[in-house]
């Protein structure tokens, strides 16, 4: 097998299809490439391993999302179980089946369309298939509502990969997070589908207007409509994730575990995660103060979300998911350590701000991250200027000797610039 594939690789070498073949080949076998310049030995990590680690951190969230799709569907029809038990009501085959027929097609379409385009571009442009989409393709189904029509997803993925990434030169070159570009495209291209109170629970859209109509409202939706009293989810429901929402965003605890795994494996930046959490807490706290000061009344349309305890912003909506998996994207985020603190802080800060002030769609995470993606190079620029300035300051005391063409070194005096 190893030998056969090696011979095939040699046969394809230099041909148009070589990148496509190599992509599949390197998936099976790490290549036989040896070092040619510089360090003769190299560390074990490569981009495939890095991306694979992120995917591993996403698997628990995906599995939870699959079960939750079914759980929310049946609970919307039959009402939430009074005495909830994990194995009796959540980890059931019925729930899994609903999840499998709704979530898995999203995963398949996301990977199919996205990787198809990546392969196409690699073959046309004659470069290797880079691994960036392995993570993007997994993120996309997790940040969209469960009933997103597959054709919409396909169109959005095509747009996101081509316009969000390939036009900039592919993996490592893009300015905006491709997964969020796809999410933003869905939101702005199909606003009637992507917002509102139906799309979050399977079949809620189909059943709307019939006698069997069910609600698919999210916690954020209730709060934004100042109907905070109407939902029955407890704090622990929100933390554990038994609430409606985008496929992967609901279970804060699993996201937290995924985040800790990514920090432990040194793949994602703890600076961004921590500062984003701080940023959202600060903004939430400011809003709480505004409410406490009595500057807005209960009739204000912002009251519902503004009065929410500041820390609860972290356990509802997509904030936690965005902070752990999307804000930490190294390509589109800030690249300097100091820049990461600033970048992360504003992601949290602006997320909560948009969430409160945007009446049309009470979720600001993806917009906040996209906005900060745009500002990340600017943040880095100023951080790096700090280093350059330090160097220029040092230059003032430089000891520069003129060239000693007459061999009189002992007579030379230092010049000061």
């Amino acid at each position: 097998m190893k030998k056969k594939l090696h011979n095939l690789k040699e046969k394809y070498k230099g041909k148009k299809m070589a990148p496509a073949f190599n992509a599949l080949h390197t998936f099976l076998y790490m290549p036989n490439e040896t070092t040619h310049s510089g360090s003769h030995v190299r560390a074990a990590d490569d981009l495939k391993r890095t991306m694979n680690t992120v995917i591993m951190a996403l698997i628990p969230v995906l599995l939870f999302g699959i079960f939750n799709a079914g759980y929310q569907h049946y609970s919307a029809i039959n009402g939430f179980p009074a005495d909830f038990s994990l194995f009796e009501h959540f980890l059931t085959f019925d729930n899994f089946w609903i999840g499998a027929i709704t979530v898995l097609p999203l995963v398949i379409v996301s990977y199919g369309v996205g990787l198809g385009i990546e392969f196409l571009f690699a073959v046309i442009k004659g470069h290797e298939v880079e691994e960036g989409y392995l993570v993007t393709g997994m993120l996309v189904p997790l940040i969209i509502p469960v009933d997103t029509p597959l054709w919409m997803l396909a169109v959005a993925v095509a747009f996101g990969v081509v316009i969000g990434k390939e036009v900039f030169g592919g993996t490592g070159m893009n300015i905006l997070n491709p997964a969020l570009t796809i999410r933003a495209f869905l939101f702005f291209a199909y606003p009637t589908w992507m917002s509102g109170d139906k799309v979050w629970v399977h079949q809620a859209v189909d059943l709307a207007g019939t006698p069997d109509a069910i609600s698919g409202e999210t916690v954020l939706g209730y709060l934004a409509a100042n109907k905070g009293a109407e939902f029955s989810y407890s704090i622990s429901d929100m933390f554990l994730g038994f609430i409606p929402g985008s496929v992967g965003e609901t279970s804060t605890i699993l996201i937290l575990l995924g985040g800790l795994f990514l920090i432990f494996s040194k793949i994602a930046s703890w600076r961004i995660m921590l500062s984003a959490v701080l940023g959202s807490l600060v903004m939430g706290f400011v809003f709480n103060m505004v409410v406490d000061a009595g500057w807005i009344t209960e009739t204000s349309k912002f009251y519902g979300l503004m009065s929410l305890d500041f820390w609860q912003h972290l356990i509802i909506g997509g904030l936690a998911f965005g902070i752990v998996y999307m804000a930490t994207d190294p390509v589109t985020g800030a690249q300097t350590n100091r820049g990461k603190w600033i970048y992360g802080f504003f992601i949290g800060f602006i997320s909560v701000m948009i969430r409160v002030f945007n009446p049309a769609y009470p979720e600001g995470v993806f917009l906040a991250i996209l906005l900060m993606n745009v500002f990340a190079p600017t943040i880095d620029h100023y951080v790096i200027r700090g280093n350059v300035k330090r160097r220029l300051k040092r230059l003032k005391n430089a000891t520069i000797f003129p060239k000693d063409t007459d061999n009189k070194a002992e007579e030379l005096k230092a010049e000061t610039v």
Binding site: M30, P31, T34, T53, N397, A409
Partner: protein, 450 residues
């Protein structure tokens, strides 16, 4: 008086095959060779023809831009081959050694009383000048320049580096002579670093500013020392030397003869009994490699250490600057699911199912596989963890790649040599050729500005 420098950022790469502390005299080599790629940026002009007889220390060629900078023969014998490449570029010179070795003798002035120009002249004509390197640009020093300081690192932290405490033992007189002479070439200080708890002979010399360094690699690189002690500014020049080359310069100053004998460490997991050998610059590597025995036949021989050395072959020759010869297994094989299975037998700077963090003292048998394919820069913040200089490594690399001279200058390219980027290259997830990028950046900057 000494100051302490503690380096926190870095990574010690512990490999199998460190040399044990025994020194053997290597068999005499029949043929000696100078590889001209060792002298980066020098355009050689031959002084001799094929078939000419030479003595030890006789000039073979000179630097086209600097006629008094001579490069000399390490052995007496007959110049038997001038190997040329594209556009008749000289690649290497081979000398068939005579049975009886004769040396050219130079008149050495009294070191204490000698002037800078006398010392310069002696070093230039004796063939010892190329041992002095300069920064910026990491090239052989320009004799016309006056360095603001001279830096010597006596703390070897590179993987499988020769133990300087051991190889410099008994060379105190040579070292002192070299330091005394070199100190005259700069109005500034001669900075010398040694390991914090070492008994390196360098530490007891007179006329130096001593720094005691501790911490992981690259704490021992001279670039790290410069950056921590007295970083280079635009327009400034510093000179750097390696301790083993100081010994040769000192030998010349004491005896008047260029004696290219050097103790080298033969290391690496492909060597059966790694140990020290005394041999000469340009000697056939086979004269000592097979004396120690080799494992298998699919290995790579490197002049220098595993991170910064240059590839040669078992029938190659000892490099001009090398004090280590490393032999490592080639990694030209496929690895089934190598990118996602848990890894215990390779070093990693992450914990992404790689477990080298669990065994900080384990020694690894690494081969030359790249462990992945070349990719665009993706991950950020990883280089900074192993890069102790006050420089943004990725941004500087990118500035070099896009040939932005202003950025290169502002981000600190004057301060670095390719070897400073050997560790970031080692851990690079995108498998980018960092040292090559920096080398090309330095060459471009030298061409345009220097």
């Amino acid at each position: 008086m000494s100051t302490d420098i503690r380096i926190k950022k870095g990574l010690n790469i512990k490999l199998v095959g460190a040399a044990e502390h025994t020194t053997t005299k290597a068999v005499l080599s029949n043929v000696y060779a100078l590889n001209l790629n060792d002298f980066h940026g020098i355009t050689p002009k031959m002084l001799l023809k094929k078939g000419d007889e030479v003595k030890v220390g006789d000039a073979l060629f000179y630097n086209k831009n600097r006629e008094d900078m001579l490069f000399v023969s390490p052995v007496s014998g007959e110049l038997v081959e001038i190997e040329r490449g594209e556009r008749r570029k000289i690649l290497s010179l081979k000398i068939l050694a005579d049975k009886k070795q004769e040396s050219l003798e130079h008149k050495v002035p009294n070191i204490e009383g000698a002037s800078a120009s006398e010392i310069k002249e002696l070093l230039l004509k004796s063939g010892c000048w190329p041992f002095i390197k300069q920064r910026p640009y990491d090239i052989i020093a320009d004799p016309d320049a006056t360095p603001k300081a001279i830096f010597i690192s006596g703390y070897a932290t590179a993987p499988l580096a020769a133990d300087l405490d051991y190889v410099l033992q008994g060379k105190e007189a040579e070292l002192q002579a070299a330091i005394t002479a070199l100190a005259k070439l700069t109005p500034g200080k001669v900075h010398v670093s040694v390991g914090k708890s070492s008994n390196n002979p360098l530490g007891s010399l007179k006329g130096i500013t001593l720094h005691k360094v501790s911490g992981p690699h690259p704490a021992g690189l001279v670039g790290t020392l410069i950056n921590k002690v007295d970083p280079i500014n635009k327009g400034e020049t510093v000179w750097t030397l390696a301790p083993q080359d100081l010994v040769l310069i000192g030998g010349l100053l004491l005896t008047g003869k260029f004696n290219p004998e050097r103790t080298i460490a033969l290391v690496g997991s492909s060597v059966k009994t790694p140990k020290y050998y005394t041999t000469k610059i340009g000697a056939e590597i086979a004269t000592f490699l097979y004396a120690s025995g080799v494992n298998g036949d699919n290995f790579r021989v490197i002049n220098g250490d595993a991170l910064t050395g240059t590839q040669t072959a078992p029938d190659g020759y000892l490099g001009f600057y090398a004090n280590v010869v490393t032999a490592l297994p080639e990694g030209d094989d496929y690895e089934f699911f190598g990118w996602n299975k848990p890894i215990f037998n390779k070093i990693s700077s992450t914990r992404a199912l790689t477990f080298s963090w669990l065994f900080p003292n384990k020694k690894y048998d690494l081969n030359t596989n790249t462990n992945g394919e070349h990719r665009a820069f993706v991950v950020t913040g990883a280089y900074e963890k192993v890069f102790p200089l006050d420089i943004y490594p990725m941004q500087l690399l990118k500035a070099c790649m896009v040939k932005d001279l202003d950025e290169m200058e502002q981000l600190g390219l004057y301060e670095v040599a390719p070897e400073d980027f050997s560790l970031t290259e080692f851990i690079c997830i995108s498998k980018q050729p960092h040292q090559e990028i920096i080398r090309e950046g330095l060459d471009l900057l030298y061409k345009e500005i220097g």
